[in-house]
């Protein structure tokens, strides 16, 4: 069934690491965002003697984590389009590798790097952020990987429709990043006009933010069954649709 999965995954990890820019973008950027914004905001708040605000201790790790997931998905979309355009997907498919094994290997690579980036953020947070990093890291990691899988399924849908590799990155960015604006991370959903609230409830990132924020605050998973259900639904719908419209060449 999964003949070649681990070998292909390990190979794709090595291949990914051989392109330094990709690694810096995936691992470096979210960690840098976390550390630099954390220091700027902490200094201001401490200077105004208001203490370190929730924004730094809670929203910033969430923002950095979502950036990890989004950059992993964008990188996945780009790689899949390049592989398709170069005939690499077609060549792999003409082997005993099953189609879902080829795609699963890429998902595993992205999950591995997301986990690595989260670990880097935790280490950097303890060392360089005045606010430190305070939250249930393991539980949060599980929530982040779960959310990433859900967003990755959207990534496959995007990868199915982008015409060429050149458009993969811009189209992916245009679809994914605007969702972040309405996700409740920057402004509470309840403060939005009713129409935007309705839109926000349709966007997967809204549930990602709600789940990650809750888990980071120490709430139990049972408080967030709705988020988990919504993200599972997103995953199922996107996977079923993508498996029908995905183009291998």
């Amino acid at each position: 069934m999964l003949r070649g999965l681990w070998k292909l995954t390990w190979l794709e990890i090595k291949i990914f690491v051989r392109e330094p820019l990709g690694v810096i973008g995936t691992v470096g950027v979210p960690v840098l965002v976390f550390v630099i914004l954390g220091r700027i905001f902490s200094r201001r708040s401490v200077a105004a003697s208001r203490g370190i605000p929730d924004m730094v201790t809670i929203d910033l790790p969430i923002l950095a984590s979502i950036l990890m997931a989004l950059s992993a998905v964008l990188s996945l979309v780009t790689i899949i389009s390049i592989y398709r355009e170069g005939g690499i997907l077609k060549r792999l498919r003409a082997t005993p590798l099953r189609p879902h094994t080829i795609l699963a290997a890429h998902v595993l690579v992205k999950l591995a790097f997301t986990a690595l980036t989260l670990a880097a953020m935790v280490v950097a947070g303890r060392r360089y952020s005045p606010a430190g990093i305070n939250g249930p890291v393991i539980s949060f990691g599980v929530a982040l990987l779960f959310s990433t899988i859900s967003i990755v399924s959207m990534g496959f849908l995007i990868a199915s429709v982008v015409p060429t590799a050149r458009f993969a990155q811009p189209i992916g960015t245009l679809i994914l990043y605007p969702m972040l604006g309405l996700s409740g991370l920057f402004a509470p959903i309840e403060s939005l006009p009713p129409i935007l609230q309705a839109v926000a409830r349709l966007l997967p990132l809204t549930y990602v933010v709600s789940l990650l924020r809750g888990i980071w605050r120490g709430e139990g998973w049972t408080h967030h069954t709705a988020d988990v259900a919504a993200l599972t639904l997103v995953f199922l719908v996107c996977t079923v649709v993508a498996s029908r419209v995905f183009r291998w060449e």
Binding site: R3, G4, K7, L8, L11, E12, K14, I15, R18, E19, Y83, G86, G87, I88, K90, R91, R93, A94, T95, P96, L97
Partner: protein, 306 residues
């Protein structure tokens, strides 16, 4: 007795929208031969081959490969065939030995990858990234990947396209080597010289239809039996004498060179006899025969190069 067919294709058809890519194509490939599907770009070669490999499903007709149905038993088939695809690439930064080792891990009985690389002259490229290989090296790697599972049948789609003549000749030698190991080779090419030098039998395909199938020699003999002999001599009576030969259809002369056209293999013997009989001084002698290129032009009314 003819060897058993390992591929049996019967009246397959494939359309994309309104375009008919493959139209009632039928042929057999026999055990141990190099069989070529030849025709211009867009003739339906790749579509036909990919249907046989099980990568595409024909709209109609039947295919049997090594006794299996490629549309339904593609995974059972893949263990027994080797495939090289047209214009395929690998990951830019995959190393040669990593590709070979991945492929080897996917099959039940792989051959030794290092030995294969050695046979294909890639040993010193073992640690090179795919993107750094030359065109010829990439194609040799794809041949290695097609042979890693010790297949009974090897598919090569436009193997030498884009290679310089020297690399092309080296690849031809490798393909002959595959046949000498008892394997069957099914290839496509739009290069008539390649088909003529390499293939035991060829099928000419144009606009999705097979026009004729046979050995290159038989196709030439059947469709373009004309032979030409060019003789350079100062003998003023040459033209008159050559015209006396029964098989000769026309003689033209230019600067002491006579171009003698006629039919049948006997023409050459007769011209030589004529030269000897009249003790003519000859400074140059050569014969020309038609090629598959001429056959293609005659059968389709257009040249294979667009």
């Amino acid at each position: 007795m003819l060897p058993q067919p390992v591929i049996h294709v019967s009246a397959i058809r494939k359309t994309y929208g309104r375009t008919v890519a493959v139209d009632e194509v039928s042929f057999e490939v026999r055990q141990g031969e190099i069989f070529g599907l030849i025709g211009p770009n867009g003739a339906g070669k790749t579509t036909t081959m990919e249907c046989v490999e099980g990568l595409r499903r024909p709209d109609g007709g039947t295919i049997s490969v090594l006794g299996l149905d490629p549309a339904r038993q593609v995974y059972a088939l893949q263990d027994r065939i080797g495939v090289q695809l047209q214009e395929a690439q690998l990951q830019k930064r995959i190393k040669v030995r990593e590709a070979v080792s991945l492929w080897a891990s996917l099959y039940p009985k792989p051959v030794d990858g290092d030995r294969l690389l050695e046979q294909l002259g890639l040993t010193d490229k073992r640690n090179a990234w795919f993107m750094t290989l030359s065109g010829g090296q990439k194609q040799r790697l794809f041949i290695a990947l097609a042979l890693i599972n010790d297949p009974e049948l090897v598919f090569l789609d436009e193997l030498t396209t884009g290679l310089d003549p020297q690399a092309r000749r080296a690849i031809w030698e490798l393909v002959r080597g595959i046949r000498s190991r008892g394997k069957t080779v099914f290839l496509t090419t739009h290069l008539m010289e390649e088909a003529e030098r390499l293939c035991d039998r060829v099928a000419i395909i144009d606009h999705g239809r097979i026009i004729d199938i046979d050995t290159p020699e038989a196709l030439v003999l059947r469709h373009c039996p004309e032979r030409t002999v060019v003789v350079a001599t100062d003998d003023q009576l040459g033209e008159e004498r050559f015209r006396m030969i029964p098989q000769v259809e026309s003689v033209t002369s230019h600067d002491g060179r006579f171009t003698i056209r006629g039919r049948g293999d006997e023409l050459v013997t007769r011209v030589i006899q004529c030269l000897a009989e009249h003790r003519m001084q000859v400074t140059d002698f050569r014969t020309e025969r038609s090629t598959l290129e001429d056959v293609f032009l005659k059968l389709t009314g257009h040249s294979i190069r667009n």
